[in-house]
């Protein structure tokens, strides 16, 4: 039983890591595609990838909040869940601003801001998971 738990833990961590942090949201362009890109196209692609990554992370966080609220019994108090979601919504608005930067062609700024938000989201994600761990 102990061995089984270790195997289960390994598989769970592997699955979690694979989809959490290691799998990129977009496939990397081929060498031919990269060679055909103009500098502006590359800058847009990088900005858009950073934005998409952050939006995906935030969506996953929101889904986790919902799942933990709907758990029986709930894994958050109502106030805790609302605090997490309020923080999530705040970053969501910032990502909408990043999208506006891409629309006007400010790809460098967009990429930088999206990457910074992604780092903060990683911390929020850990907070949500850690809170669940403490109460379990």
């Amino acid at each position: 039983m102990k061995k089984f738990k270790y195997v289960l833990l390994f598989v769970a961590l592997l699955g979690g890591c694979q989809t959490l942090g290691l799998a990129p949201i977009h496939k990397a362009p081929t060498a031919e595609q990269q060679a055909a890109e103009t500098p502006a196209q590359k800058a847009e692609r990088l900005a858009r990838t950073a934005l998409d990554e952050a939006n995906a992370t935030l969506t996953a966080i929101n889904i986790t909040i919902k799942q933990n609220v709907q758990a029986v019994p709930p894994l958050f108090t109502k106030a805790e869940a609302q605090d997490y979601l309020n923080e999530s919504k705040k970053y969501g608005k910032q990502l909408d601003d990043v999208a506006d930067l891409i629309v006007v062609g400010k790809f460098g700024d967009a990429q930088t801001q999206a990457a910074a938000i992604q780092k903060v989201l990683t911390i929020l994600q850990q907070k949500v998971i850690a809170k669940v761990r403490k109460e379990s």
């Binding site: 961590l13 939006n55 995906a56 909040i65 609220v69 109502k78």
Partner: protein, 63 residues
């Protein structure tokens, strides 16, 4: 085996599975020939929808 460690693994997996579903959606869109702009818009819509659903779940909790 620490129960806390096992719990953490499952929580990580749950978050990972959620992100995995999103990655799968993006993959489907790319295979369907959607433009990068369309995919970005779709991810934004997905995020906004997840906010609405999470808020509805919280609103349904007893005070």
């Amino acid at each position: 085996m620490s129960a806390e460690l096992l719990n953490l693994a499952f929580n990580l997996l749950a978050v990972g599975v959620n992100r995995g579903l999103i990655l799968s959606t993006v993959d489907d869109m790319e295979k369907a020939g959607k433009s990068p702009q369309e995919i970005t818009e779709a991810l934004k819509a997905l995020r906004k929808n997840s906010e609405i659903e999470a808020q509805a779940a919280i609103d349904a909790m007893p005070s």
